[in-house]
Symmetry: C2
Subunit: 222 residues, 2 copies
């Protein structure tokens, strides 16, 4: 999960991968509380909003530091800010989307990047029918120019939204261009060097997991 096998937090300690995966959820819950004007929350309140146990939440936070006040709870804003720092969101991260089909365009249109620390700075495709097109103020460029684009825009992360058959080639080019974090929506297992970090999302796989659970439910009843 981690490229190095080590997840160092700002104090140099190790953070379990399972904990890292939950941090964004906690941050979402905190933003919700801020919106609602809640100033303080207990671990159980925050945990319920996040869908985990209060013990789990406290243990997770303990890997990052000590943020609460005994007998009181957590200062919502202060915790959100600490968590931002831990997640490395203090500075904006620059994202490139590769593959401008339906999904790529939908991802380019997504409104949620800014509020969560990301900015889409480049769009790439290898299809002449799309290259040059303007999508939400960004002109789609050619895959062939990827090295120049990554350098010019100082891209940190790439989102892969190509068809399955071209995804591995796209990833090879992305890695070659120096990007070390990839979010892939392509329904294949990608091969990357050890120092590159891949998060994969596959709609078909998620549905198949639902199908398994449904079947388990139905058999459990028989």
């Amino acid at each position: 999960m981690s490229p190095t096998g080590k997840n160092a937090d700002p104090t140099g300690n190790q953070v379990p991968a399972a904990t890292v995966a939950r941090l964004p959820t906690y941050l979402r819950a905190l933003h919700l509380l801020i919106e609602r004007g809640v100033g303080t929350s207990s671990s159980s309140g925050l945990a319920e909003l996040s869908g985990v146990s209060s013990a789990q939440l406290r243990k997770d936070l303990s890997f990052l530091g000590s943020f609460g006040t005994r007998g009181v709870g957590y200062n919502v804003e202060a915790l959100a800010e600490s968590m931002n720092r831990v997640l490395g969101l203090a500075t904006e991260h620059r994202v490139m989307i590769v593959g401008m089909g339906n999904l790529g365009q939908a991802l380019a249109d997504y409104r949620g990047y800014d509020s969560r620390g990301f900015k889409v700075v480049a769009l790439l495709d290898n299809n002449d029918g799309v290259i040059g097109k303007d999508v939400r103020g960004i002109v789609v460029e050619a895959m062939a120019d990827i090295d120049a684009v990554v350098e010019r825009e100082r891209v940190s992360f790439a989102i892969v939204a190509t068809p399955a058959r071209s995804a591995q080639d796209a990833v090879d080019a992305i890695v070659q261009a120096g990007v070390r974090g990839i979010l892939s929506f392509a329904p294949i297992s990608l091969q990357v060097p050890d120092d590159v970090d891949v998060q994969a999302v596959d709609v078909g796989s998620e549905l198949q997991i639902l199908a398994f659970h449904k079947q388990a439910r139905e058999m459990g009843m028989a």
Copy 2:
């Protein structure tokens, strides 16, 4: 992860959640091998394609039954078929997409459902500007009609692609209509009854995990 906390396989045993999450990956690898005309594969060959260790793959398969031949390996087609059965993909599952914004339309356009056992049979939205529109041969219907749609189309699963603010309402309606498996793309934690199964995908959260790893990498080097 599982609604009941128990994952019964066809023989009545328990399958760990972590194993269930990997089964779709194995199935993808098997389809790749079938395409390539490979008839037999060892656990290590299949594992490499799937990005896991051979011991992991053998252990995972052992929860489902005994599919290989010692000294030889696995018959690719037979294993794919067994896995289809285990995952409950023998019959086609009927899917409804709720929320026809950019993402919903991109998901409706996605070509990968059929080959993986799913069929999109209904599209819903609560915006008059979209209701009645034809998307790939399916007319978008009103959220208000959800109960009738679920019954008429015998919907098994719902994909939620609404904005965050309306996602919980959409999920409540989906559950009320009798659907027990939900794949959500909304960036919020959803509250559902215990017997409803939710798989959640959040682009922002995935990017934040990448950001954490990047930060850990950079601090680890200092």
